[in-house]
């Protein structure tokens, strides 16, 4: 990868143009994948021999949980890029991704607790994974609150970047300590590296759903980032031209 490419990536105008070309394809692909995954997972995948149909909520729960965690990693990466290379676009990404990540965590928590009712007989079980998710939600809240509290944009950008990096260093420690606190936890449902215990007709739709969620996340993020770039660069000539064309 050449460095000119990297710096071009930081230019808002270039980002706006490229993302505009990318958007329709991304939208098409993720909606298609989502449709396939939902129909396959909810109608064609076999019932779980223990949990019956209630297990099907994993087709929402697991992708949301995976995305919630990778979104936080993304925040930290964006934070490092923003702090080290002073790339403004990285801050835009950080700012726009944080609320999406928080929503994903929230969805994972809600679906987890709904799933908990038929499985454990209660809406909230202090299960290690759910507890970790709750803590992750708090970490997201901290970042969003810090961003909102600091009025100067550059200061807010750097402070949230530092906080995201601090959070990402702490996440494994928190996760392991919570796991250890709750030794009764179930093993993770789905890992990319290990051979899953589920039959393929169960995990294939799950894989489709995970990819679809990533697609939707990217779509949502790009849309938010494009709006934010326009808002920040409203003085620039290319933004004026775009606004005149559309009005």
């Amino acid at each position: 990868m050449s460095w000119t490419f990297f710096h071009k990536l930081g230019s808002p105008k270039w980002f706006y143009e490229i993302s505009g070309k990318l958007l329709p394809w991304l939208a098409l692909a993720s909606v298609l994948l989502l449709a396939i995954g939902v129909v396959w997972g909810l109608f064609y995948a076999p019932e779980d021999y223990q949990q019956g149909n209630s297990f099907r909520i994993i087709y929402i729960h697991v992708p949301a949980a995976i995305l919630a965690q990778s979104c936080y990693m993304m925040l930290a990466v964006a934070g490092i890029v923003g702090l080290v290379w002073r790339m403004k676009l990285a801050d835009v990404a950080l700012q726009c991704a944080a609320p999406i990540g928080a929503w994903m965590t929230f969805v994972a928590l809600i679906t987890g607790s709904i799933w908990g009712k038929p499985t454990w007989g209660t809406y909230w079980e202090w299960d290690a994974r759910l507890t970790s998710m709750l803590i992750l939600l708090f970490l997201y809240f901290g970042i969003i609150a810090l961003r909102m509290a600091i009025s100067n944009r550059d200061t807010a950008a750097k402070a949230t970047a530092v906080m995201a990096i601090v959070g990402v260093v702490n996440i494994p420690i928190i996760k392991y300590s919570v796991d250890w606190w709750n030794t009764l936890h179930q093993p993770a449902t789905f890992t990319m590296t290990e051979k899953p215990a589920m039959p393929p007709e169960m995990w294939l739709p799950l894989l489709v759903m995970v990819i679809a969620f990533y697609g939707l996340f990217a779509l949502n993020l790009l849309l938010r980032m494009r709006l934010e770039v326009l808002r920040r660069e409203y003085k620039a000539r290319w933004v004026r031209e775009i606004l005149e064309k559309s009005s």
């Binding site: 609150a145 750097k158 906080m163």
Partner: protein, 224 residues
Amino acid sequence: MRQMIWLLLKREWQLTWRRPGDLLNPLIFFAMVITLFPLAVGPEPQLLQRMASGIIWVAALLATLLSLDGLFRSDFEDGSLEQWVLSPHPLTLLVLVKVLHHWLMCGLLLVLLAPVLGLMLALPWSVMPTLCLTLLLGTAVLSLLGAIGAALTVGLKGSGSMLLALLILPLYIPVLILGTGAMDAALQGLPVLGYLLWLGCLALLALSLAPLAIAAGLRIGVSE
């Protein structure tokens, strides 16, 4: 360099002793929070003993957090931090010394007070060494992590302390789990060395990484 560290410790010491309230208030807070629990859940010794380690740890965590809120604020407001940032000495070292001083003052006093409060919560004498040791190691981590939040919120007036809690409390969870885990093990007569080693690991990790984040946070705060 050594002389500079010595002078900084002397300065912090002088500042603390001329305003002893900053030192005593977290301690009083610690004692008060612990007093609230028997009043809320009832004074049965079995129940209290069962909850004691959790109560003491949560109270110690909140007391440390509250005491950290003002750690850098007065230095920020009177312009001292600008001079720190402009010093040719590494800012990471300066903040490390400052935070360690805070730990020696606040953490050590909490450790000294904790056995008395533990006794009031019906903890047996046999677990007191564990209580003190875990608190000693744990408060070091609490001070270092909390100082990151204090640095990031240094320029915020008013809402700073609530935000500090929001940012830092999730990061305190591992310390809380390890500290109370060690206490439970000690109450059951199990070995606690493993817990102490883990806490020591966390303390070392915080000692080596937190000053970087604290210094970065202060630079950001000063640059506004």
